[in-house]
C-alpha cells in the first residue's frame, strides 16, 4: 500500500507541490495527469527519494519513502523522462550494473537479466549496444532496468513521450502486465489518451495541487452533479419526454429526433436506475439508456478549468 500524505515542495518563493495526498493499493495503475510544470515530476521525484519534501510524508508498505532511504529504495523502480544510457555499454552490461547496485546476488544476476529482457521483449538484443537500440527499445530497456530488483512501486515519468504508435501500444501492454503482477504503478503524462486505456486510477494535478483523485467515474460524479443521459426508444419519444418531466433528478429533457432524447439528470446512481425502471414500467420500449461518458481529456479540462480560473 502506498500512502502519500501532504507532500509539499518549495523552490525559493515557488511552491511546486502543495500538500498532495493519496493512497494506492497493489495492482493499481495510476495515471498522473497535469500540464507541463504542474508538479508531476516533482511529486514523482519525491516518491523516488530523489527530492526531499519540504513537508509531508509517504510510506510504501509501511516503509517511509521520505526518510531511511536505503530501505525505501529497494522497493522503488523509477523511470525518468530521459534514458540516461551510457556510451559503449551493452544491454546486459547496463542491466548488470543496476542489478549489482541494487544488491542482486552475483549468481542470480544472469537469470534476473534474462527474465526482465524476456518480459520487455528485448532478449534478442542482449548483446547489442544500448545506444544502438531504437527509441522504443531504449524505453523498454529502461523499464527492464527498473525491474531488475523486483520493486513494489514503479514510477514512470512521461514513459510514452517520443514513441511511435506501435511502441506506445507495446508499452501500454507492458504496464498493464506489471499491474496484473501486483505492482503499484504511477504513470505521469500530459498526453491523456495514452493513459485512459490502462489506468484504473487517475490523479489530476495543477499548479502543485491534486485537484482530483480516483477512478474516472468517481471523479466525474465528484465534479459533475449533472450528467447527460441519452435515451433511445423504439417509438413515442415525444411522449417519453413528457413522461420524464418532474421525475426525481430530471432537470430538463431535449428531443433529439424521432426516437432519441437527452435527459439532463442530477442525482445519485440509485435515482438514475430508478428512472430507467420507471420508464420501463411506463411501457416505453427502450433500446439504449446511457450516460454520455466524459473522456479523460474532458475530465482534465473540467477539473483544471476551475483551478486555472
Amino acid at each position: 500500500m502506498l500512502v502519500v500524505d501532504g507532500l509539499r515542495k518549495e523552490y525559493g518563493q515557488f511552491t511546486a507541490v502543495d500538500g498532495v495526498s493519496f493512497q494506492l493499493k497493489p495492482g493499481d495503475i495510476m495515471g498522473f495527469i497535469g500540464s507541463n510544470g504542474a508538479g508531476k515530476t516533482t511529486t514523482i521525484k519525491m516518491l523516488a527519494t530523489l527530492l526531499e519534501p519540504t513537508l509531508g510524508r509517504a510510506t510504501l508498505n509501511d516503509v517511509p519513502l521520505t526518510e531511511g532511504l536505503i530501505d525505501a529504495r529497494k522497493l522503488i523502480g523509477y523511470m525518468p523522462d530521459f534514458f540516461g544510457l551510457y556510451e559503449d555499454i551493452r544491454v546486459w552490461e547496463y542491466l548488470e550494473l543496476f542489478a549489482s547496485i541494487y544488491g542482486v546476488p552475483k549468481t542470480e544476476r544472469p537469470g534476473v537479466i534474462d527474465e526482465v529482457l524476456e518480459l520487455t521483449d528485448l532478449g534478442f538484443k542482449k548483446d547489442a549496444f544500448a545506444k544502438s537500440l531504437s527509441r522504443g527499445m531504449q524505453q523498454r530497456l529502461c523499464l527492464a532496468r527498473c525491474l531488475v530488483h523486483d520493486p513494489d512501486l514503479l514510477l514512470l515519468d512521461e514513459p510514452a513521450s517520443g514513441l511511435d504508435p506501435r511502441a506506445r501500444a507495446e508499452l501500454k501492454e507492458l504496464v498493464a502486465e506489471l499491474g496484473r503482477m501486483g505492482k503499484i504503478v504511477i504513470v505521469s503524462s500530459h498526453i491523456l489518451p495514452e493513459l485512459a486505456d490502462f489506468c484504473n486510477v487517475v490523479g489530476i494535478i495543477e499548479r502543485g495541487q491534486l485537484l482530483a483523485f480516483g477512478s474516472v467515474e468517481e471523479i466525474i460524479s465528484g465534479i459533475e452533479q449533472r450528467r447527460m443521459i441519452e435515451v433511445k426508444v423504439l417509438e413515442r419519444a415525444n411522449e417519453a419526454s413528457m413522461f420524464l418531466h418532474g421525475k426525481e433528478g430530471v432537470v430538463s429533457t431535449f428531443l433529439m429526433g424521432a426516437s432519441t432524447l437527452k435527459v439532463e439528470f442530477e442525482g445519485s446512481m440509485e435515482s438514475q436506475a430508478q428512472l430507467l425502471a420507471e420508464m420501463i414500467q411506463g411501457g416505453f420500449l427502450i433500446t439504449e439508456f446511457r450516460v454520455d461518458a466524459a473522456d479523460l481529456e474532458d475530465l482534465f479540462m473540467k477539473v483544471t478549468t476551475g483551478a486555472l480560473n
Partner: protein, 528 residues
C-alpha cells in the same frame, strides 16, 4: 564483519568501477592512447638523457656524474608529477559531470547504496588510469636505476607517493563537480582547488621550515633528512626535498610514503564524504561521517600547531632550543592564522541556513548539541565550537601548562586564541545574519564570505587611508579589529571583545528575523 565487507565492497568489485573498466577497455581507444603516451615518454627520456650525457666529459668525478644522472631521474619525476597534476583532478570530476549531463546520476543515486559508493567507483576507475600511467613509465624510470641516478627503492617510494597524491588530487575535484555540475567550471575549479590546497600546504611548510631548519623538528639533528607531515601532499615538494622520512613529532619519524598514504587517505575521506554529504539529507551516515572526519582533521591541524608550540617554546620533550620572543609570536600567529582559516571554512559550511532549501537547511534553532553531527542548522554553533576545540585545544594545552619562556608570551598567546574565538563568533553571526535574507544556503554562504572579505579588506584600507591622510603611518591600522596584532595582549583581547559584540548584534538581529518569518508558521514547524 558486514561493515568491513561493505567498506571493501566500495573499493573492490565496485559496480561503477567494473562498468567503467569495460567501457575503457572497449575498442582500440585505450591501446592507442597509452601507446602514444609511452612513445612520448620514451622520446622525452631519450632527449633528456642525451642532454645529460652531452654534459659528461672524460675525467669527470664519480660524484659529479652521479649528480648529473640524478638530475635525469629527477626530471623524469617532475614530468610524472606534472602529468598527474594535469590528469588526476579531472578523472573523477569529469565523470560526475558527464553522468549529470546524461541524466544517469539520478538513476545510480537512487539505488540503495550510499553516494560514497558511487564516488568510490569513479575514484577507483581514475586510480586504475593512474596506475597505468605509472606502470608505463617504469621502463623509463628503470633507465634511471640502471644508469645509477636512483635505486629501485627510490622509484618505488616515488611511485607510491605519486599514486596517493594523484588519488588526493582526483578527490579534490569531486566536491567541485558535485557543486557546479558543469564541465568547464568543474575542470577550472578542480585545478583551482589543487592550487589553493597546495598554497595552504606551502604555507604550512613555510611555518614549519624555521622549526625544521633550527633543528627543532628532529630533522637536521638526525642523520636522516626529514620533511614536515603536511608537506607530503604538496606537489613537487617530495622531489625537491628528496627526504625519505617524515616528522610526525620531533622525535617520531615515519617513512614519507607512509605519511603520504595516511594524509591522502584523510584528504580522500573528507573530499568523498563531503561530496556525499552535499547530496545527502540531515542526519544521514554521510553527513555524520563527514563531520567526524572534519573534527579528526581539525585535531590533526591543531596537533601540528601545538607541535610547533612544543618545539618553539621548548616544552613537551622538544629537542631544539628556545628562540627569541618575536620569532615565537610570529610563528605562533602564523599557525593560528592557518587554524583560523580552517575555522572560517568550517563556519561557512555548517552555519548558513535557508527557509526554502529543504528540511536539511531549515532553521531549527540556535544551539543544539544533538544536531552537531547531524548537520541541521541548530548544530552549527556546537559543531563550530567542537572544531575550535580541536584546532586550538592542543596548543592551548601546551600554552597553559605554565612552562613558558616568559609570562608575557603566555598572555600574548592567550590573547590571540581569545581573539580567534571571538572572530569565529563574528563569522557565526555574519552567516546567521545573511541566512534569513537569502533564498538558498549557497547564496547566504557566498554573501557571508563576501561580507567577511569586504570587512577584512575594507577595514584595513579605510584605516590605512586615514593614516595616510593624517600622516600617522600604521597608528590607526593597529586598532583594526580584523587582525590579532596590537601593541599589548590587552589590546588584542579588546579587539576580540569588539568582534564578539558585533557578532552578538548580528545573531540577535537574525534571530528576530527568523522567528518572525512566515514559513516558521507552517504546520509542522511551529515548534522549531
Amino acid at each position: 564483519m558486514q561493515a568491513i565487507r561493505s567498506f571493501f565492497g566500495h573499493f573492490f568489485g565496485n559496480a561503477h568501477s567494473v562498468k567503467d573498466f569495460r567501457i575503457q577497455m572497449r575498442g582500440n581507444k585505450a591501446l592507442i592512447l597509452w601507446s602514444l603516451y609511452l612513445v612520448l615518454l620514451v622520446l622525452f627520456a631519450m632527449f633528456t638523457y642525451g642532454g645529460v650525457a652531452s654534459q659528461m666529459r672524460a675525467g669527470m668525478s664519480a660524484a659529479e656524474m652521479q649528480s648529473r644522472l640524478q638530475s635525469f631521474y629527477n626530471t623524469l619525476m617532475y614530468l610524472l608529477q606534472t602529468a598527474i597534476i594535469l590528469i588526476a583532478p579531472v578523472l573523477a570530476s569529469a565523470s560526475i559531470v558527464a553522468d549529470d549531463e546524461r541524466g544517469s546520476i539520478d538513476l545510480v543515486l537512487m539505488a540503495p547504496k550510499s553516494s560514497t559508493y558511487y564516488f568510490a567507483g569513479l575514484v577507483m576507475s581514475g586510480m586504475r588510469q593512474l596506475i597505468f600511467l605509472l606502470a608505463l613509465s617504469i621502463p623509463v624510470a628503470s633507465l634511471g636505476v640502471i644508469m645509477g641516478g636512483a635505486t629501485w627503492t627510490d622509484v618505488l617510494r616515488s611511485f607510491t607517493i605519486f599514486l596517493f597524491q594523484g588519488l588526493f588530487y582526483m578527490c579534490l575535484g569531486v566536491p567541485v563537480a558535485v557543486s557546479s555540475r558543469k564541465m568547464v567550471p568543474t575542470v577550472i575549479g578542480s585545478y583551482v582547488a589543487i592550487a589553493v590546497g597546495s598554497g595552504i600546504l606551502a604555507l604550512m611548510n613555510a611555518i614549519m621550515s624555521p622549526a625544521m631548519l633550527s633543528g627543532m623538528m628532529g630533522g637536521p639533528t638526525t642523520s636522516t633528512p626529514t620533511m614536515p607531515l603536511f608537506s607530503v601532499l604538496t606537489p613537487y615538494w617530495h622531489i625537491i626535498v628528496n627526504a625519505p622520512m617524515t616528522a610526525v613529532t620531533p622525535t617520531f619519524l615515519i617513512p614519507t610514503w607512509a605519511a603520504t598514504i595516511l594524509m591522502s587517505t584523510l584528504g580522500v575521506a573528507i573530499c568523498m564524504l563531503g561530496s556525499a554529504s552535499q547530496m545527502s539529507r540531515a542526519g544521514s551516515p554521510a553527513v555524520i561521517a563527514t563531520r567526524i572526519v572534519g573534527l579528526i582533521i581539525s585535531l590533526l591541524i591543531g596537533l601540528l600547531t601545538s607541535q610547533m608550540f612544543s618545539t618553539i617554546f621548548g616544552i613537551g620533550g622538544a629537542s631544539g632550543t628556545s628562540a627569541g620572543t618575536s620569532f615565537m609570536i610570529t610563528t605562533a600567529l602564523s599557525g593560528f592564522m592557518l587554524s583560523g582559516f580552517i575555522m572560517l571554512i568550517i563556519v561557512a559550511n555548517v552555519v548558513p541556513y535557508a527557509f526554502r532549501d529543504g528540511e536539511k537547511y531549515f532553521p531549527n534553532g540556535m544551539f543544539s548539541v544533538k544536531d552537531a553531527l547531524k548537520g541541521k542548522p541548530a548544530g552549527g554553533m556546537t559543531y563550530a565550537l567542537f572544531a575550535f576545540a580541536c584546532l586550538f585545544g592542543p596548543s592551548g594545552y601546551y600554552l597553559f601548562r605554565g612552562m613558558f619562556v616568559s609570562t608575557y608570551t603566555a598572555l600574548e598567546a592567550f590573547a590571540v586564541m581569545f581573539w580567534f574565538l571571538c572572530a569565529a563568533f563574528l563569522y557565526f553571526g555574519i552567516f546567521r545574519f545573511t541566512s534569513p535574507w537569502n533564498g538558498s544556503v549557497k547564496s547566504a554562504r557566498r554573501i557571508g564570505v563576501l561580507f567577511i572579505v569586504g570587512l577584512n579588506v575594507g577595514a584595513g584600507m579605510l584605516l590605512a587611508m586615514v593614516d595616510l591622510a593624517f600622516k600617522t603611518p600604521g597608528t590607526l591600522s593597529i586598532i583594526n579589529p580584523m587582525h590579532p596584532f596590537a601593541e599589548t595582549p590587552e589590546g588584542v583581547i579588546a579587539k576580540g571583545i569588539v568582534l564578539a559584540i558585533v557578532g552578538g548584534i548580528l545573531v540577535n538581529r537574525s534571530e528576530e528575523r527568523r522567528i518572525k518569518h512566515p514559513l516558521m508558521k507552517i504546520k509542522g514547524r511551529e515548534t522549531a
